[in-house]
């Protein structure tokens, strides 16, 4: 297995599904056999404050937190939080901020924005589609399985 650690930083505000999204990405990587660490930096986040979730996976992950300039992917759910945390993105990192605009255009129901973002993120990761779909089902605790699957696959297969 590749020694490299993949670092993904999810960010947004309380109630936007940031933690569900990072949980699903972590589960998907775990199902594919990676060692995963996921850790949140937040205050009283469920009260609308900032939420950032660090997901790191690879052969063996030490620190649960990444450092500034280390994120391979920045997955924002709120533009202001994206701007606040942009310094975490590595020089060659992928910023999914444009996908966020797409997500809001494509998802009539804002509940599915996080699933859409996961679909976009999944295009770039070395994690199998089967693991993603299983993780979606477990992560959403069996709620809206078909809808989430559809939104995820549409986003994943969109150019």
């Amino acid at each position: 297995m590749d020694k490299k650690i993949t670092n993904i930083l999810f960010c947004g505000t309380g109630g936007q599904g940031v933690l569900t999204a990072s949980e699903i990405a972590s589960l998907a990587a775990m199902y594919d056999g990676f060692h995963v660490k996921k850790s949140e930096v937040h205050g009283m986040a469920q009260r609308g404050g900032s939420v950032e979730s660090h997901v790191r996976f690879g052969e063996n992950v030490s620190s649960p937190l990444m450092e500034a300039g280390q994120a391979d992917f920045l997955v924002p759910f709120y533009k202001d939080e994206h701007d606040r945390l942009i310094s975490y993105l590595s020089k060659d990192g992928k910023d999914l901020v444009d996908d966020l605009e797409q997500a809001h255009l494509k998802c009539e129901n804002k509940k599915f924005v996080n699933t859409y973002m996961l679909g976009r993120l999944s295009k770039y990761l070395n994690v199998s589609e089967a693991s993603w779909l299983k993780a979606l089902e477990v992560g959403f605790k069996g709620r809206f399985v078909e809808e989430n699957r559809k939104v995820f696959l549409d986003a994943r297969n969109d150019k």
């Binding site: 949980e23 995963v36 850790s39 620190s63």
Partner: protein, 572 residues
């Protein structure tokens, strides 16, 4: 086939305890330790209990141990303060069935009122302490802790931090192993801590500590990793992982069985490396001990005693730097749209009264723009601090505010105190039917237990009357006369309790008809922003906008608008 789950440190501790034959678990919710009891409550073999507070939960768990079964207490750091009375003496008496004390510190205060380092309490109480750095270690160490507890006849502390409690990681789980109950045999010199017996127990405890120190020296939880010998780092807890990230080639002494300190291992490690550092979060707990052993070690600057560490800060410490505090730039937390606390603090702000507050979501009433809560110290102090402030500053100028769960935790005693000692004035009990701040746990006033079963329900009205309140009334949080009622009761020559009742948004998510916002009538005076609702904000054109996705129709904002731009639906 082996099963691997993605578990948080809290969940891993619960799982480990369950597999170790746990039969009783007791706790009071507190971030970041809440999920331990929540997770363990799913297992039918475990009598999982939410207790009134940490003192009662400690005693309930200790009682189960004395009766002969494996038991667990869990709380956050400040919760342990409440349990310190039984804890200190239980170290003398010892246990019957294995008993573990899980405490979760909160460096950086993600959700706490102080940043105390409970490692010092392990030393103060003279109890052994294990410190996992990750969920998978938390799982393993929890199982070991029960054996250690029974081997040395002592409660064992498992000390974690927010970063261990809330990090998730792959954890390979196993099966539960039933452990035979140990017989309780009456034994006054062991279980009756009267002075004469306790004195002998103290003598025995000092000898036990020396034995445990020897055991710590041999423990596989304290490991020396020799790499580059020019730099040696002694570290514990999650700081170990930051060290591995920042200095993968350094030699490391990783402490997992941190107290009593493994002196021989520390000396052996120090001999092998050139420059010796200690990397630990918060207090210089290990550093001071290493110095006491006569071993030269580089100190971290005191600025790093504040807040949590990360790999970047570990590098700074090694470089001998001083921490530069960065201004917080993250969004502040707010009450949810439709929160039943919002109308209360809007009314208190308009009345301009002094508010003695407590710990809960309603503490947010202190922040701008509401700024209608003026003291918060600890659980229950909303009542007792009010009792004194009301007497000194005037009962028509001060109100006390406490939530339902906090009132039950340690507010009731304060009310009895207030009644007994002649306090007059008004205490507001904000009853939203749950322990909201920690994520909606039950408490005695909800009438549901930790397993989700119906149980006896504590009546807040009756307990308030029985405690000595002269007037006890109940009002809907969104009632139009809330402000008038508060004013009326503050001005009575009596001790009053007003129970402001409305369910928390986390337990009742119904959306009512939304108010109508007519932008043509809006003067952009910003009066509606004072209620600090996430559903009302300024848009890109700097104009007031109502977010219909977030709004739930509580209509508190309607009361703020003088120009008829915000009106109740049907009244427009």
């Amino acid at each position: 086939m082996k099963t691997t789950l993605l578990l948080s440190g809290d969940e891993a501790i619960a799982r480990g305890a369950y597999e170790a034959g746990l039969k009783v678990a007791a706790a009071y919710p507190g971030t970041p330790s809440t999920e331990i009891l929540e997770y363990v409550s799913q297992f039918p073999e475990v009598d999982a209990q939410w207790a009134v507070n940490e003192k009662t939960s400690y005693e309930v768990a200790l009682g189960a141990s004395i009766a002969g079964v494996r038991s667990m207490y869990s709380s956050k750091h400040v919760g342990l303060n409440v349990a310190m009375d039984p804890l200190m003496t239980s170290i003398y008496s010892g246990i019957t069935g294995g008993f573990i004390v899980v405490v979760a510190d909160d460096p950086q205060m993600a959700s706490s009122q102080n940043e105390q380092d409970c490692r010092l309490l392990a030393k103060f109480a003279k109890m052994p302490m294990l410190e996992p750095s990750s969920p998978s270690e938390a799982y393993t160490m929890t199982k070991m802790a029960f054996d250690l507890s029974e081997k040395f006849d002592t409660p064992v502390m498992i000390r974690i931090t927010t970063r261990v409690a809330h990090t998730k990681e792959n954890v390979e789980i196993g099966e539960r192993v039933e452990v035979a109950d140990k017989p309780f045999v009456p034994n006054a010199p062991k279980y009756v801590m009267a002075p004469g017996f306790a004195y002998k127990k103290h003598i025995a405890l000092e000898a036990k500590l020396l034995e445990m120190a020897k055991y710590a020296d041999e423990s596989e939880l304290n490991t020396i990793e020799i790499n580059d010998k020019s730099m040696g780092i002694i570290t514990d807890g999650v700081a170990y992982l930051y060290v591995k990230e920042a200095f993968p080639n350094a030699s490391v002494l990783k402490l997992g069985f941190t107290y009593p300190f493994p002196d021989e291992k520390i000396k052996e490690f120090a001999k092998q490396v050139k420059d010796l550092f200690v990397i630990e979060e918060l207090e210089p707990f290990i550093e001071e001990h290493v110095k006491q052993l006569g071993i030269p070690v580089k100190s971290k600057d005191i600025s790093y005693r504040i807040g949590e560490l990360n790999p970047t800060l570990v590098k700074e410490i090694i470089e001998g730097k001083t921490k530069v505090e960065k201004p917080a730039n993250s969004r502040k937390p707010v009450m949810c749209p439709g929160c039943s606390h919002r109308p209360v603090f809007y009314a208190l702000k308009k009345l301009g009264v002094i508010v003695s507050g407590d710990i809960g979501c309603y503490t947010l009433g202190a922040l701008k723009p509401l700024e209608a809560l003026h003291t918060t110290i600890c659980m229950g102090a909303g009542v007792t601090v009010f009792a004194s402030m009301s007497k000194i500053l005037g009962s028509n100028k001060v109100v006390g505010v406490v939530g339902d769960s906090t009132f039950v935790h340690s507010g009731i005693e304060g009310l009895i105190d207030a009644a007994y000692n002649g306090t007059k004035g008004l205490l507001l009990v904000l009853d939203n039917g749950t322990t909201g701040m920690t994520g909606a746990q039950h408490n005695p006033s909800t009438g549901i237990n930790a397993k989700g079963e119906k149980t006896k329900k504590l009546s807040l009205e009756e307990i308030s009357k029985a405690s000595g309140a002269d007037i006890v009334e109940v009002i809907d949080a969104f009632a139009d006369n809330l402000q008038d009622k508060i004013k009326e009761l503050m001005n009575k020559d009596a001790l009053s309790v007003l129970i402001v009742r409305y369910p928390c948004r986390m337990i009742d998510r119904t959306k009512k008809p939304l108010p109508v916002f007519d932008s043509s009538k809006c003067k952009n005076c910003n009066a509606c922003l004072v209620v600090d609702c996430p559903a009302i904000s300024k848009n890109k054109e700097n104009k007031i906008a109502l977010d219909e996705y977030l709004c739930v129709g509580c209509d508190v904002c309607v009361k703020t608008c003088k120009f008829g731009a915000l009106t109740k639906r049907g009244n427009e």
